[in-house]
């Protein structure tokens, strides 16, 4: 047993930290409020630089522009990027599309789609959920009619993160409406500039535009953009879903919030914010600290399993539930400690930490919903993990 990272891994962490110190705007504490436009420029800039370092797709095989980095290096990468609130990572292209195409894609698809991702030149999005297909994803009804050379797509997708920035979409659509629901679904790669694609923003309760609804009106998708066999797309998607559940982002973001808060409170205490020195505050902060550290260990464990060639399953769900709920608890604790000040947003001159806690709290509601609700994760833990019979 050894809880340390290797020298090489620690070396990488140091290189990454140096890189971030160099490349991020000075005094960078992460994006503030809805400064979305500027952020996107910075995101693209950073993505380019990450691609140059080869880090964007470091976990990919060398053949496809990766470095065959171990899951532990990816873990470190994600941990530090999250902790430093650094923009530029590519969840959809690098973490989801890539691994999927490497398993299911044709040689042409790999050659066409992977290099631009590795170079950070393209934005992907994920077209899975629909208004009537949330947790029950397989009940999706967006139709892709097989027209021979192409598929004709009609319907709409919901909660599509970054669709408004995306060049391409991984689309799940129904190709056989007669088949049992898991059996008639296909996995298509859709050019977002195709005629008939329309993207409408969904603004969330934190006031930011991350989600979209995407409408398809007789959109033609060439047959060569079908991944794996027709009607087998559900199984492709399921593989991908397991790449989505990572707890380290939540653990690292939670830890950062706590560190920021602690630092703020020491100073505020001296400036006469008496609340910071009340008896319950220390205990509550320490409780959250323990949780973030446990969340980190659980996430490490998942990555370590992967590094051993094991497939985390229950473990990934444990990490997802615990990480996302820890994040919510940390945000809530921060607001409870900050008291009346906690409600102020970044635009208010009195706002502590640029209103970051209320922002985290508002955003945090989605953490236990997106990428599989906590209820679904607990079902997985109970049935797949503990072997309890399905209800």
């Amino acid at each position: 047993m050894d809880f340390r990272f290797s020298q090489a891994e620690e070396g990488f962490r140091q290189e990454l930290l140096d890189f971030l110190r160099r490349e991020l705007p000075s005094q960078w504490e992460g994006p503030v409020g809805s400064t979305e436009g500027n952020d996107w420029d910075l995101t693209l800039q950073m993505r380019g630089k990450l691609a140059q370092k080869g880090w964007l797709t470091m976990h990919w095989p060398k053949d496809y522009g990766g470095q065959q980095a171990s899951p532990l290096l990816s873990l470190i990468f994600n941990e530090e990027m999250s902790y430093h609130r650094a923009p530029g990572r590519d969840i959809f292209g690098a973490r989801m599309l890539g691994p999927t195409l490497m398993i299911y894609g044709s040689e042409e698809q790999k050659r066409k789609f992977l290099p631009p991702v590795a170079k950070g030149e393209v934005q992907w999005c994920q077209g899975y959920s629909e208004p009537e297909a949330g947790s029950d994803l397989a009940s999706l009804s967006t139709r892709a009619e097989d027209m021979g050379d192409y598929f004709l797509v009609n319907g709409s997708k919901m909660w599509t993160s970054l669709a408004h920035r995306a060049d391409w979409m991984m689309l799940l659509a129904r190709t056989d409406p007669e088949a049992p629901k898991h059996r008639g679904i296909s996995f298509l790669l859709v050019d977002m500039r195709s005629p008939g694609v329309e993207v409408r923003p969904i603004v969330n309760m934190a006031g930011s535009h991350e989600f979209n609804q995407v409408f398809f009106d007789n959109v033609q998708v060439p047959r060569e953009n079908l991944v794996a066999e027709k009607d087998r797309g559900w199984y492709v998607a399921v593989t991908l879903l397991d790449f989505e559940r990572s707890g380290i982002d939540n653990a690292a973001s939670s830890r950062r919030l706590l560190d920021d808060l602690s630092e703020f409170l020491w100073e505020a205490q001296e400036r006469g914010f008496h609340r910071a020195s009340e008896g319950w505050v220390e205990d509550l902060l320490a409780e959250r600290y323990v949780e973030t550290e446990v969340a980190r260990l659980i996430a490490y464990r998942v990555a370590w399993m992967q590094s051993q060639g094991l497939v985390p399953n229950k473990e990934a769900s444990v990490s997802k539930v615990f990480g996302s709920e820890t994040f919510q608890r940390v945000a809530d604790t921060g607001l409870k400690i900050l008291g009346l000040y906690g409600q102020l947003t970044w635009e208010d001159q009195w706002a502590p930490l640029h209103g970051r806690f209320q922002d985290a709290w508002r955003h945090g509601f989605s953490n236990t919903i997106a990428a599989g609700t906590s209820e679904i994760q607990r079902n997985i833990i109970a049935s797949r993990g503990l072997g309890l019979p399905r209800g």
Binding site: R275, Q358, R362, F365
Partner: protein, 377 residues
Amino acid sequence: MDLALNETQQMLKTSARDLLSRECPYSLVRDMEEDARGYSDELWRRMVDLGWLGLAIPEKYGGAEGDFLDLAALLEEMGRALVPGPFFSTVVLGGLTILDAAGDDMKRDLLPRIARGQLLMTLAITEKGGTYESQEIEVQARREGEEYVIEGTKLFVPDAHVADFIIVAARTASGSNPKEGITLLLVPGTADGVSVTPHRTLASDKQCEVVFHGVRVPYSAVVGEIDGGWPPMERALQRAAAAKCVEMVGGAEAVLEMTVEYLKQRVQFGRPVGTFQGVQHHCANMAIDVEGSRYAAYQAAWKVSEGLPAAREVSMAKAWVSDAYLRVCSLAHQCHGAIGFTQEHDLQLYTRRARVQEQAYGDARFHRRLLAQTLRA
């Protein structure tokens, strides 16, 4: 024992729910978040016409002679409908404080105008310490000739940006007991040296920073006794906390109902989501919290209404409801899934306000500390 509202109160609730469902739709609530003043003249006039502004004001001052419980019943409905605007600050913070603490002349001057909806008021307590304790009050009012000169900054003052008068808790004498030497002063919102900047809050409500710079008011602006402002201020805080709790109960119940309705309709895995035991138990937990909140809140309001010592019941209520309402909202989000998280959905209107209401007039830990003090005494 009688745990029901009386017939008049029931009727008042019914008619308020009816009116507000028509005249205060969620679209108005949304619009008012963006609006600089934060309320609509039309709805305000309807409320005035129905006599809501004067509900808890005695007849001799132009009101309807209702009691605090009548007002509470109305506030529950306003909380349910998320009514935007300066009703709470004018009536609960302003009017009732004047009624409680001011001399007869001031009452005769202000209360009828409040009842007629012609006067907006608020109360400025909190300063940079961010709490509702006497030792945090540092705004100074020093005597100069026949005037007080006010200097300092108040924070989180509700609706000060539209208030005709702000009742300001200012320090007029210093001493070892922070509860002594505080005076309540009636300051016109337009007085020279008053500058008001609305805060930017996560609920987009209208709490304000109010800076007093050499603001002069005459002796006659004193509300109640010189240097004796803290006891009426404590009573004002108790009224405000109790009233806020009832308002929150209205919101919490709306959230529960909205969630149950959604779960009956929403189908996943071939059956209504509401049939899954996981979300059923979420809803049961919400119902438990709503039930407890309702009686804790009304017990506090009733004590206030009867003029009985209410410190313990008010602190108990605010300690409980502050946390319970947020729990209810969190579970509601979990039951709603992604849709509840969108700006378009009405749920988040409640959630964001629940967070602000949690803090208003003391959060759970503040009131648990007060409670611990009363228990030890």
